[in-house]
Symmetry: C2
Subunit: 647 residues, 2 copies
């Protein structure tokens, strides 16, 4: 090594200094450097002299001069045997004084240790088969305390009861030591690396970083602003790299991807984060099928790597239209594992279309087999009412019928708040083969609406929960039900009471291309135009969505101006994009997959917070850093802003 | 494929629609899908029917019914031959009408095309050896215009003169089509992927994403703020993931890395970006040597992959102390390729230490061989004066001597503004072996200062430029002179006129650990304590810096309170970190490498803007998006802020 004649050659001082002298004194005399991790030693290592570093998992006093010490790192736990030296013993057993022994004995769990010693075989009665290192132990020669743990808020132990999430988020640095969180983060890293290897090495994509200091966009009502040192000039944080990736296509990048951080400032919801990560990709000169095929292969690779399962063993993933998904499952992200398809009461469709325009009447049979109790039936009714109050459906009536009680037949028209004392409605003739004890829910919905859930879609999910709780429905948790939903409506209409379109909004975003076959309706019936949009759905969750984009500046301008009716100010924020499209824009399309959700599914965690190293709380706070926090007057001055007075 | 019976099966409509009918009509009838890229066809493909997509590079009319068309994508250019159909010709030559022919002829460069045709051998006189596809051409069967280019601001052609950078940034989507920028972005992607493969696959690191919505820190005077919907509550954008990566070490992550976006709101400088990317890593239980060794192997892997060079062929990289770097090269990031070491005039050191405390007198010989002209000498003097005005050195005098004119010997004490008419000073005896025509610069500097450049360091760089312009110094541009600079001073003193320490600031950041051997001086002479900090320097540029961190809460608290003298408010922003250190913090250290600079060196570009897809301009603007921009009153209301009145 070409070391200069300096005074502090790093090679000459390899130790780590511990200024607060622990019971064992300073470490600077010894070389710091592990020979093994704490999960590595096996019987084949017996006889080796090893150096281990880690956290104190346990200290157990066996006799007055013998103790057992569990040393843990992310790889596992190794047992160390620590004994006061017997002058007559061999030198390898170290020179442990009674004072040092007492020091280790008093050591708090989660303190940090460095030990050297010899690997020995455990006595047979001490062998622990549940530990990977359970057949050996390390007879300690020297032990150095690197840091003493004080005031530990809780033990990071998956086998014990944990404090509530708020406490764990505040002390995330302790919680992260739990093996389950370590595994989640490792899996996340592995999934990202798998995606990169697939896209770069196999599919010749290029990863391109796009800016985080972005410009605010009209559709982004809830975008974080970033003040700059120019007065009244702001950046905004991007909700996705959508515009940049389209510009990359115009720039000839051909195949782009990015594992991209995105930001969305929306009302705190239990499982939403203000910042989240997407696997974002875009390709030039492709059709819907190219993108879907590529994504299937990518997801196949992930599942193969992480789960050892080939999700394409039975062929490509099922592809279903939005219309069919809503008709059969009442959802644009159906969980097909649940069965219980919705059926149309076609004969009545026209009859129902009176006051609120054309109505579709449909029904769902819940195979309750007589085991659904009155109380649960009431909960079901409440769920329906809630779904309607949330505006998730404007079905004008829902009938809940219990065929086993056909004699005291009852129906509920919930929208009219006519509950238990509603008029009886005869069970429609079309509903045949009803087994005794099953429940039928009949609902009507407005045909011209484009909901993401219908009332029967919600009822179906609620019913599935109910049936599972009663073992009437079994779902194989190791099963992954993927499907594509495509041909979404391009625009979502806002309807008035008479089913007239008041306004059209983009169902997904204004860059989505219309289906070729529907282009002829764009001028006359834009609400009937379907989009080249596709969602990837897994077990009832949307894990990705994308589309072929508009590449014609004329078509894009027409949609901005004539259909979405953007104001001139709103339109001006897309000027750069329209101009770019005029400089030679290739046809292109892509997708974005939500990484946090994807990883949480593969980790089997219920919350995405369990797959994020430092998540914000459900109310959007960083409890560890205590952020967001007040700014100083100097900072506010720098950015030419004042905080508004309290109202 | 399990296609449902939907109405718009994506499989059934694979075409891409072009709403503005180009000269060739719509594309929706044909299947869009390239068989080859535009850089792929060779003589082995002759006879194949191919489908190509790309941009019109050129249209050349050969005869009244024959034209040549260059079709370009990121992979290359392929020549297509387009001919009006002869009814007597074979069907493979297509059915091109004279109208279609005229349409293509009128087509603007950079329009987007889809062609099908047959690969044929070029006539010998048409073979173009400078094109990878130069031995073949494609006889067009069908051609479809996918988009017509309009009002192109400039041609994205590396072989032509380009407009000034401002224009190119405004139309980045055009500029990105230049092969040189495409190559830079591809190399950036490849470098990141190489780093990930090395760290994850070989070194068992975990990539962990840390938050971008962070908390403002006392040392971050110029951190971007992000207002939230809670009144007077702000996030801040991180200047680095420093705190989070240290918390990950406390959390047992062991080996962390991240290719991380960072933000710094500082005065616009020509080659600084408000957002930039770091290869950021941290390891537990390591010494300086472990980190430096790992980084050397990582950089070795990058250079091997990108350049095919083994930078460690001659052994580990040189390691030099800060003190030696400043003494020999006058810089903490020396470019050792330049030679011209600085030498001490030790005999005079003590003598000089009078008015401003101890002074070091040193000299530099510029081997000008009599070819440095008076005008250039004046420039050199100006450079010295500027360096002093910028406060880069407080050397109290600089003598510039031209030995070839020893008879009319002159000296300049620049700080005193006594220029040409200064008193003559005899050439110090210690400077021997001075060849005629060389120039000697003698300077004094304050011994207790910790500059990043001394005046002689600046002079050395300026002189090197001068010598290179006269072919008196040759630098092999393919040579990569790496070295480590270590043992930096832990604190940088602010000195008063009498060389007394007014205040100490952390030289790098307050988490850097002191050298073990210097710890004894911490209480008495903190300004003499060296740090476990190391910088990786390449060709005179700092490409990375890191350190072993403080892991003792007591030592960290002592430095915050007793040395840096943080106010209680400033300290309170580190409470979470100090608390975390008490919960069992391992010794740890790491480094961050500037990715943008690293890639620009490997791409051989002078500006980091050439290796960033969408850089901000040198004044910090996104000229493409026209950002930052004004916020709407609604947005300001949402975030409870007002824009301050103009002053």
């Amino acid at each position: 090594m070409a070391t200069e004649t300096g005074t502090t050659d790093p090679e000459a001082v390899p130790g780590v200094h511990v200024p607060s002298s622990g019971p064992m004194g300073f470490l600077s005399e010894v070389r710091l450097g592990r020979s093994h991790t704490c999960g590595e030693l096996r019987t084949s290592d017996i006889g080796k002299t090893v150096r281990l570093c880690g956290w104190v998992q346990y200290v157990r006093k066996a006799t007055s001069d013998l103790l057992f010490l569990g040393i843990r790192d992310k790889h596992g736990v190794t047992q160390a045997v620590y004994q006061v030296s017997d002058p007559s013993a061999t030198p390898t057993s170290g020179t442990v004084t009674p004072e040092q022994f007492q020091g280790i004995l008093r050591l708090a769990p989660e303190s940090v240790l460095y030990v050297t010693g010899k690997v020995t075989r455990r006595p047979d009665f001490m062998v622990n088969k549940s530990m990977s290192t359970g057949e050996v132990e390390v007879t300690v020669n020297t032990a150095k305390v690197l840091n003493v743990a004080r005031n530990l808020p809780f033990a990071p132990d998956d086998t014990r009861d944990l404090p509530k999430e708020e406490i764990r988020l505040k002390h995330r640095h302790v919680d992260l030591r739990r093996p389950s969180l370590q595994n989640n983060l490792a899996l996340r890293s592995q999934i990202c690396h798998t995606v990169r290897k697939f896209l770069i090495d196999d599919e010749k994509f290029m990863e391109v970083e796009t800016p985080i200091l972005f410009k605010s966009t009209p559709e982004g009502a809830r975008e974080y602003l970033v003040p700059t040192r120019a007065r009244n000039r702001f950046f905004a944080l991007p909700q996705s790299p959508q515009q940049f990736k389209q510009l990359l296509m115009v720039g000839g990048v051909d195949k782009y991807f990015q594992i991209a951080r995105c930001f969305r400032d929306e009302d705190a919801r239990s499982d939403r984060q203000p910042e989240f990560t997407q696997i974002d990709l875009e390709m030039s000169f492709v059709t819907e099928r190219h993108v879907m095929d590529l994504v299937e292969r990518m997801v196949q690779r992930i599942w193969q790597t992480v789960r050892g399962v080939d999700i394409l063993a039975a062929g490509p993933l099922p592809r279903i239209t939005y219309q069919d998904a809503i008709a059969k499952y009442g959802s644009d992200k159906p969980d097909v594992r649940l069965g219980m398809e919705i059926h149309p009461l076609t004969a009545e469709t026209d009859v129902a279309g009176t006051q609120h325009g054309p109505l579709l009447r449909e029904y769902l049979i819940i195979p309750g087999r007589g085991q659904i109790k009155r109380r649960q039936l009431d909960q079901l009714k409440q769920a329906i009412q809630e779904s309607q109050r949330n505006g998730e459906s404007t079905a004008n009536s829902v009938y809940l019928q219990e065929p086993e009680k056909l004699r005291c037949f009852s129906s509920y028209s919930l929208l009219d708040n006519q509950h238990d004392n509603a008029t009886s409605v005869p069970l429609p003739d079309a509903i045949a083969h009803l087994e005794p004890g099953n429940i039928v829910v009949v609902s009507e919905r407005r045909a011209r609406e484009h909901p993401d859930f219908t009332t029967l879609g919600r009822v179906r999910l609620f019913a599935a929960q109910l049936l599972r709780s009663k073992d009437l429905l079994t779902i194989d948790e190791s099963q992954f039900a993927f499907l594509w939903v495509h041909s979404f409506p391009l625009f979502t209409p806002e309807l008035d009471k008479d089913d007239r379109v008041v306004r059209l909004a983009s169902t997904h975003h204004p860059f989505t291309a219309p289906a070729d076959t529907d282009l002829k309706h764009l001028h006359t019936h834009p609400e009937a135009v379907r989009a080249k949009h596709y969602d990837l759905v897994l077990n009832g969750m949307e894990i990705g969505g994308g589309s072929i984009r508009i590449h014609s500046p004329d078509l894009q301008r027409y949609i901005f101006e004539e259909i979405l009716k953007l104001t001139p100010v709103e339109r001006s924020r897309f000027d750069h994009l329209l101009e770019a499209f005029e400089h030679g824009c290739p046809p292109h399309g892509g997708i974005a997959l939500g990484l946090d959700r994807l990883v949480s599914i593969l980790c089997g965690t219920s919350s995405i917070r369990d797959v994020i190293a430092f998540p914000k709380s459900s109310s959007g706070h960083d409890l560890l850093m205590n952020s967001p926090s007040a700014a100083t007057p100097e900072q506010l001055d720098t950015y030419h802003i004042h905080v508004a007075d309290e109202e």
